[in-house]
Amino acid sequence: VTKITAIAFGIASTLFAQLGDKQLRQPLADNWYHYNGSYDSRRHSELKQVHTGNVSSLVPSWMFHVPNAARMQSVPVVSNGVMYVSQENEVYALNARTGRQLWEYHRVPAIQRAPNRGVAVWGDKVYFTTSDDYLIALNAATGNIIWESKFADFKEGYCSPAAPLIVKGKVIVGVAFGDRGLNGILDALDATTGEILWSFHAIPKPGEAGNETWAGDSWKAAGGDTWLTGSYDPELNLVYWPIGNPSPDFNGDVRLGDNLYTESVVALDLDTGKLKWYFQFTPHDTMDWDAVQIPMLIDAVYDGKPRKLLAHADRNGFYYLLDRETGKFLHGSQFARKLNWASGLTPNGKPIRVPGIEPSLKGTKICPNSYGATNWISPAYNPDTGLVYFVALEGCGVASKNTETFRPGGFQYRATGDVPVPDETSRMFVRAIDMRTGEFKWEQERASAHNWGGGLLSTAGGLVFSADYEGQFSAMDTRSGKTLWHFNTGQRLNAGPITYSLNGKQYVALCAGSDVISFALFDKK
């Protein structure tokens, strides 16, 4: 025993460098601490070593192959020189400078159900959720499992693909799938013990405000899931979370009413989980237009005074600007060119519906289609240009409904769907609009409109990075949209890119299919 005493002394009490709340609140620069980069989820980094003038020299610095992975949707998290990437039920820790593996964790048993989009870091731990609805806490230096805590029941059909959001020792986790009549919950767990501290029910129960927006018992199998990571405002102490579609997706006849809080963004008190305000983008949705887009928190002058804003481009085809202190609607404008279900928005942001444009027994042409005019893949906001960047789809579908009924146990409860209009080709774009006015600035078409591909990243180097489904990873000029660099990764891209800096060198990285690739400027040494 004496042999090890010298080296092991004190190990139990002194651990891996502690990552504190203050660091997690920092603007996005050297590290990438959260799924959305920073609490404001703008995915805009202050790093500018790589810029419009030299991005043509960007080359792969290292690659890491994730065994058995395919179509990874994980966004890497970088902290203390270590990069953490996940896929379903697995986490890998890599040296972010070399791509060499430090450890890996595999969940046993591993229920296969959905992608995993990433981890969260806090203190000396790494957190991620599994497909059987456990939150797992791992030691950040070794991957040793510290504890696991169950927050939903996979036997009911729930799974948890989203990366957790960690704020002040609370790990906030959501669930899928809303297409199966599974009511959404958002849980906050104690980051030290795994204890559930509060649960927000996205579908209000009888006696709770909002339950009256569901006819009869329809609230019981109602959807409204929480499957994408939200945002946080430290000054207001509010968590912003996007809520998914109502069930059954396409037959609204059985759930008359506005169907709160589906298709909304909700603002919750971090300490209690109590609802402060909500804004519903699509009341009584019948097109599966989850409002599950990342809420971007922006501080800017609006109407002559500094305001706390929330920007959100929705699948329903409209772009929204809200006051995030109150939820007040400030601005809305149409960004989808193909849009026939509403003729505009009222002064308080409610859609003015066009009668008859809803799923029918025979089928109705509806634009946008059920993939939405945008989707979960990450948008970005650059404060230097004042532009919001996001991926937009122009497409219509023929939508129909039926009388499918709910079956417990995690079965589809969509009551049919839509098919593309045969004589119209869908097209996909990276689009830049003015944050305050929604005015079009530029767009770049993506080659394939069949799948979303990956998300966007903005940098102070004047670049927007974009990962498309055909495998091209490209950099565009933030102001003009002109492509300045591209690299064929040879794999389908389904994840958002990140950037970080180590030892004075800026890296741009992403999960590409089954590989993690990190790029840096070519170094002649």
Binding site: I4, R97, A114, D124, I145
Partner: protein, 275 residues
């Protein structure tokens, strides 16, 4: 939700699997798996099976070895019973004429030589074993069980399902080379700072070291003046001398029962496996 259209088919398959009737419970050894049954099976095996297989489960002239510590090589009791009773079609394995109780005894023996420590009813006081682990043995300064303990050595939360009983005993009493990820190393930086710990990664150009304080040091080799590896593991191997026989037995009993894999194996119908 339109997120994973291509995964939808898989999800349907999964849904169908979940909805299918519960798996049929396989017949289990009516004699149990006590060490006496195993011993009888061992004797029967050496008498009846060694015309082809080797003695004591080793490789024979005409048939393969039956001992294998890796759990996924193992079949259920029922499958081994069937293989002996009726032979294995397409191979030289014939049907045995032994009465059923003797076949079950051999099954118990084969299962035993394919088992990990958690499959054995290792005698000893488990609570006391934890006391030794945390106290006199000093194990928890380097090892972790269920989130508590040190980081320099491997996590032991599932060691009972990863090692055989003999391997656990041997690791406590015999020197062995360090496992990958736990190789002791001393690195000196260009500025003369000395970092001691274990290597989490090393290749020709980089080395990543976990030090005794649980801190990671991430180096490229051109940032280091020297790297010195130690051939021996940090693991002490004299516990048979530093502990009393009963303390040693209690420690082994406790380690043998460390298993996180139980649910998984039960789902596969091998409900007799693990703890």
């Amino acid at each position: 939700l339109q997120t994973y259209p291509s995964v939808r088919a898989l999800l349907w398959l999964l849904a169908i699997c979940i909805a299918s009737p519960a798996q049929v419970v396989k017949p289990r050894n009516p004699l149990g798996n006590g060490l006496d049954v195993v011993a009888q099976g061992h004797e029967l095996y050496n008498k009846s099976c060694t015309a082809c297989h080797g003695r004591d489960g080793t490789q024979g002239d005409r048939a393969p070895a039956l001992g294998a510590a890796r759990r996924y090589f193992r079949l259920s009791e029922a499958a081994i019973f069937d293989g002996i009773k009726t032979g294995i079609p397409g191979t030289a394995m014939p049907a045995s004429g032994l009465p059923d109780p003797d076949v079950w005894r051999i099954v118990a023996y084969i299962r035993n030589i394919r088992s990990t420590a958690s499959d054995n009813d290792v005698p000893g006081d488990v609570q006391n074993g934890f006391g030794v682990y945390r106290g006199k043995g000093g194990c928890s300064s380097c090892h972790m069980i269920r989130g508590r303990g040190g980081l320099l050595g491997p996590d032991l939360s599932s060691v009972g399902t990863q090692l055989t009983l003999e391997q656990i005993k041997s690791s406590l009493t015999h020197a062995s080379p360090p496992q990958a990820g736990f190789v002791p190393v001393e690195a000196t930086t260009l500025s003369g700072e000395v970092i001691k710990g274990v290597t989490k990664n090393e290749d020709a150009f980089s080395i990543d070291i976990l030090d005794s304080q649980g801190k990671l040091h991430l180096f490229t080799k051109d940032e280091l003046r020297s790297v010195a590896h130690q051939p021996e593991s940090l693991m002490p191997h004299n516990f048979d001398k530093t502990l009393t026989p009963s303390e040693f037995q209690d420690l082994v009993a406790m380690l043998s029962r460390q298993a996180r894999i139980k649910v998984h194996k039960e789902q596969q119908g091998e409900n007799e496996v693990g703890r």
